[in-house]
């Protein structure tokens, strides 16, 4: 499944999609950034409610397929520009973190 296919399948909002054909091979949910850096596998979708610009740095270093902001969270100022600059796919979902993970699990 590609990031674009996931977004379309569940009507997630596309905030930034520089690499729409990127494949998703797993998932991880977490908001504590050090924890995420220790656990998040490359090519996974990362589900979080953290909306500050540091999530882009974490994603740049760990290389997930996309970040999904769950629970209707909006990105802070500067996040979109940084995501575009670093080539990070960024989606937003109104669903809870649990529901987004269930969506992901149903597609993997």
């Amino acid at each position: 499944m590609t990031v674009k296919e996931l977004a379309n399948a569940f009507d997630y909002e596309i905030l930034c999609l520089p690499d729409e054909a990127r494949e998703i091979r797993g998932g991880y949910a977490g908001d504590l950034l050090s924890w995420v850096m220790g656990k998040l596998d490359a090519d996974s979708a990362w589900v979080t409610i953290m909306s500050n610009v540091n999530i882009i740095a974490v994603a740049t270093l760990t290389d997930p397929s996309c970040i999904i902001l769950s629970e209707g969270v909006s990105p802070d100022e500067g996040v979109l520009a940084r995501a575009e600059q670093q080539g990070i796919n960024l989606l937003s979902a109104k669903k809870t973190t649990f529901e987004v993970c269930a969506d992901l699990a149903s597609m993997l």
Partner: protein
């Protein structure tokens, strides 16, 4: 033995730019042809150190030395120092303030991650003077 050195000044005032040195190192190591696993280990360990210097020490200096058999990361600050290194190394122990925790940091996983992702880590710290951390990733 020949080495390639990368030097960075870590800005302690700017939390939003924290991680820029790690991101640049990641790109440089990729251009030098290192494996994704080595790149991830070096860049994540360095990012954790960078964040620690921003949170606790008002910035500092980072040097990355690339040898043919290892990558060495040296992080040096003139911050408050670590009074009890054994305690600081415990997973979940953190002295980060609440405003930092609200950004998703302060999980008490920074130093443990740095140790986990590297083959060797040495911490020298003196209260009131600063901390120097040397990490090595074998390649």
């Amino acid at each position: 033995m020949d080495k390639v050195n990368f030097h960075f000044e870590i800005d302690g005032e700017n939390f939003t730019s924290a991680g820029e040195a790690s991101v640049r190192i990641k790109k440089m190591l990729r251009e030098m042809g290192f494996t994704p696993e080595i790149i991830r280990r070096v860049s994540v360990a360095m990012y954790e150190g960078e964040i620690n210097m921003v949170i606790h020490a008002n910035g500092g200096e980072a040097d990355v030395n690339v040898f043919c058999d290892r990558i060495e990361i040296i992080l040096a600050d003139r911050g408050p120092g670590i009074p009890n290194i054994d305690l600081a190394m415990q997973e979940g122990y953190s002295t980060a303030p609440d405003n930092i925790r609200s950004l998703g940091f302060g999980a008490g996983m920074g130093l443990p991650n740095m140790k986990r992702y590297t083959d060797d880590m040495k911490i020298e710290s003196e209260v009131g003077k600063g901390t120097t951390i040397v990490m090595t990733v074998n390649v």
